[in-house]
Symmetry: C2
Subunit: 229 residues, 2 copies
DNA sequence: TACATTAATTGCACAGCGTACAGAAATTGG
DNA sequence: CCAATTTCTGTACGCTGTGCAATTAATGTA
């Protein structure tokens, strides 16, 4: 049961730790977007030669995976399992939290979607979600299906929002993004797309907190209909 | 009203057309994955020097945008507006169609999510969706919100499926993907993630047709609850 | 028919990327 | 003090997007 990470190894001492590599990557992600999260960029950030990074991770994908894990690990799973709060509220809190955190560095969600999410923090999140949905009255099979549905919904919504942001810069405020959309929507020919043009005001607000919560509520409605079967 | 694309221009004749550029890109996408859709790869496919591509598109992002538009344009919108079919069935058909088409070249959905979907084919799809949801009894505002919800759901589900596929190769059959997942899930420690381990069988099938349809049905349930308010 | 104009294509170059390989530097157990 | 072991660096290869200048091909006009 000894910590088998410390027992005084032989060779040269490490200049940094794996966590510092991840930290440097996240620093780049926030400051210069997802494309800037490069091996060479991270190395420069740490004052190392590019290939020194390969001491800590086998390839770029592994670094990305560790970053994803770190981002997922920041979520407050305790709030998710607090059984004194209604289950729908708990999910709303988690979803809002994830959205805020992931849109803080646009491009982060693209990292999530660039590989399977199979790390321990991803598992922990899934497990907590299953617990909430059991509280909601779903049997284990339905709870599992619903948990995936929720993850799809949350990551999908965030990904679509992120898709229309130019990667660098930590995302303008929502009001500004809505205004930009409204401006672009005014160019739509009302004769060819009458319904779209007519609903332009609502469409402009697709990237708002309200639409995000509305969509989640419809999903939760659908899930709730399967409860205590 | 004359075709202002033909009136006999002056300089050298174009070796290919914009559509051939897009076709070459899609050929690469299907054969060697999203990463292979490079300017140089397209140029090689067409027998041109790399920078000749810049005659047709200003940069790589524009090429990607055209590819996305082309993929969206392949969807059968007529089936969406056939009012003799129940509206839920029509949406299921469209969703299944999109999934099949996008998973045919994994990585395609990442292209969709790499920029705003604001081309004419994207607009046409949105417009058709609004019509279906009007048929479902939603007022224009709710229909707009629901249409975005549906797009989020469909693209999110496809993106999550694509995320765990190694980009090249046109996606193994579903049964094989489920088997692979089941294998990986057997490694999950049941003591730390009891619910996850217990539902492993269901979780393995997250990438199945059934889960896709199940999730869509929950979303449609939620949307249906807002009809004829 | 000859020439000038215009557009498409090419060659070359630059800066960046991931990463493989060999060697130098640093640290420790014996 | 030496040998073993680990980390870090130098160098290099092949790939990417794309800007600039020169070349090639097609046309309208004289």
């Amino acid at each position: 049961m000894a910590k088998d990470t410390s027992p005084a190894k032989r060779g040269r001492k490490r200049a940094v730790g794996e966590d510092e590599v991840v930290a440097a990557a996240i620093r780049l992600l926030g400051a210069r977007g997802a494309d800037a999260v490069s091996i060479r960029g991270i190395a420069a950030e740490l004052g190392l030669a590019p290939n020194a990074v390969y001491t800590y991770f086998p390839d770029r994908a592994a670094v990305i995976g560790a970053v994803v894990e770190h981002l997922l690990g920041e979520t407050d799973l305790a709030a998710l399992t607090a059984r004194d709060t209604p289950w729908r509220d708990r999910i709303h809190t988690l979803a809002g939290d994830l959205r805020r955190r992931l849109l803080a560095h646009p491009g982060a969600v693209n990292l999530l979607l660039s590989g399977p999410m199979d790390g321990p923090n991803a598992l922990a999140l899934g497990e907590a979600l299953l617990a909430v949905l059991a509280d909601a009255g779903l049997d284990p099979t339905e709870a599992a299906r619903a948990s995936y549905l929720l993850i799809v919904q949350v990551l999908g919504a965030i990904a679509l929002e992120a898709a229309e942001l130019p990667s660098p810069a930590p995302a303008p405020p929502i009001a500004e993004r809505v205004a930009t959309r409204r401006e672009q929507l005014r160019a739509i020919p009302a004769d060819r797309f009458p319904r779209t043009a007519g609903a332009a005001d609502t469409i402009a607000q697709f990237v708002s907190d309200e639409q995000y919560a509305w969509g989640l509520d419809r999903v939760l409605d659908g899930i709730e209909g399967r409860a205590n079967s």
